[in-house]
């Protein structure tokens, strides 16, 4: 288990030697800050501002997450450093989980920008902490799913740009599935809906923590991590 942590730490270290981490952080602060400002002055209701913000952040992260997951494996394949990991006494599962965890910690760091907005709301209004907690839990799960899909894409190629595009396509697919479902009725509708990442996040966004949604996100992450380690094994 310690080795997983060391892999995660390495990923986190390497985020901050490239400009991408800072660019992503800057763009996120800019857009979310701007909208927070708009919400505060137009909605003027401390209870709904955070849910509004999170539902906006979901779309922002859909576009941003490929930028911080694309390099996870693709870059190591390109430079050959994946050999360093694969010839060390560490399992592929540990490598994959470590990389996921490193990226998830980076995501959490990005998300911590929102604590500032929360602080402002606490000072000037009376937000609903139950709803906010549900939003954070849901958003962490949504972010983890984005990362796990990005990890799969990154393991399929040596080229970071291709990895980013693939990730974006994967995310878009799981986004549009919810939209596709609106054309159907009954069983087919709920089938498509079940695979929609956003649909499962919507409950959290409304302040509802449902075990179906929890299980869905955790299954997505587990499946993708498993798939990534299988892809690595396949390349032996």
């Amino acid at each position: 288990m310690r080795k997983v942590w060391w892999i995660a730490k390495k990923e986190l270290d390497l985020y901050f030697v490239s400009p991408i981490a800072y660019i992503v952080l800057f763009v996120l602060s800019l857009i979310s800050g701007y909208y927070f400002y708009i919400f505060v002055f137009q909605v003027k209701d401390a209870v709904v501002i955070m849910p509004y913000l999170f539902s906006l952040l979901a779309s922002i992260f859909l576009f941003m997450s490929p930028f911080y997951t694309m390099r996870l494996i693709a870059e190591e394949k390109k430079t050959g450093t994946i050999e360093v990991l694969l010839t060390s006494p560490i399992s592929k599962g540990e490598i994959v989980v470590g990389k996921f965890l490193g990226s998830f910690l980076f995501f959490s760091l990005l998300l911590s920008v929102t604590f500032l907005y929360l602080l402002v709301l606490i000072i000037w209004g009376s937000p609903d902490f139950g709803v906010i907690l549900a939003n954070y839990i849901g958003f962490f799960l949504l972010g983890a799913s984005f990362i796990s899909l990005g990890l799969v894409a990154s393991s399929l190629t040596k080229n970071q740009i291709i990895a980013a595009i693939l990730t974006f396509l994967f995310l878009l697919l799981f986004w549009l599935i919810g939209w596709i479902s609106s054309f159907f009725q009954g069983g087919l509708k709920s089938f498509f809906n079940y695979f929609s990442l956003i649909e499962h996040f919507t409950n959290f966004n409304r302040g509802i923590i449902d075990s179906t949604d929890l299980i869905f996100f955790l299954s997505v992450v587990t499946f993708n991590l498993f798939l990534t380690s299988k892809i690595l094994s396949h390349e032996e």
Partner: protein, 310 residues
Amino acid sequence: MIEVKNVTKYYSNVKAVNDLSFNIQKGEIVGFLGPNGAGKSTTLKIMSGLIRPSSGSVSIFGFDVFLHPIEAKAKIGYLSEKNPLYEEYSVEEYLKFIARIKGLTNINKEIQSVADKVFISKVMGKTIKTLSKGYKQRVGLAAALLGGPELLLLDEPTVGLDPNQIVDIRNVIKSLGATSTILLSTHILQEVSAICDKVIIINEGNLIAIDEPENLSRRLSGENRLILTVKNYNPDVANSLKNIDAISNVEVENDQDLTKLLIFSQSETEIQNDVLSILLNKDVQIIEMKLDALSLETIFQKLTKGQDNA
């Protein structure tokens, strides 16, 4: 003991390694020799657990690399040909990371000890990106050495280095032989004569020979050549020489007042003293004398060419 058993590897339809088997005993320094594309790197990658053979098995001191990868890899230090490193890290950060994923304890002491072995203590704080190729190679070697692996797999460790660096790295490898078993791939023949106890020669994925360097040359030549350059030669000398049992043939080449004698003998017997006393008796003046055993270069060419014809 390290056992490579009937290893075959296909890359799509191309056979890179063909039914390769050999053993390496604990403590040996073995040279892995072959032309470019012979399958050396592939074999080393298979032994390190990086790629799976299409068939066959590899056992590292009792652990099958593919059935017990973690245990086997813990016994191996692998330096790949490309020597990939996390170049954004400083040398110290990099070695720390490697030590940690190898699960070592007492990390600082371990790092200090390998840094001393490969002489990189002075550059520990530098970012790897900024180092010269020679230093990067040493960092790669240091990483492979962390944890004192019982087996070192070194893929072309001196390629791309300048002559001074080559000598340095060779000396390091030689000194490591005291504590580790080493398999070292190269296509530079002097490297093998300089540091190895044993040579494995492969070509086009096939095992061609496995022996000590001296035995290889003896086995191939079957005879030694003593080459003499003399003055005041007279034809009697050749007849007297031919009377020595061990000498199989004498060839004479005249070149103005100097004469070149090529004396062929069975390789096991020393004939120099007998030859000298005959020459001195006949008042022949000796200008130069040398014993010409086949060099590894010649052996290598002979072996790999034989392969092409077959």
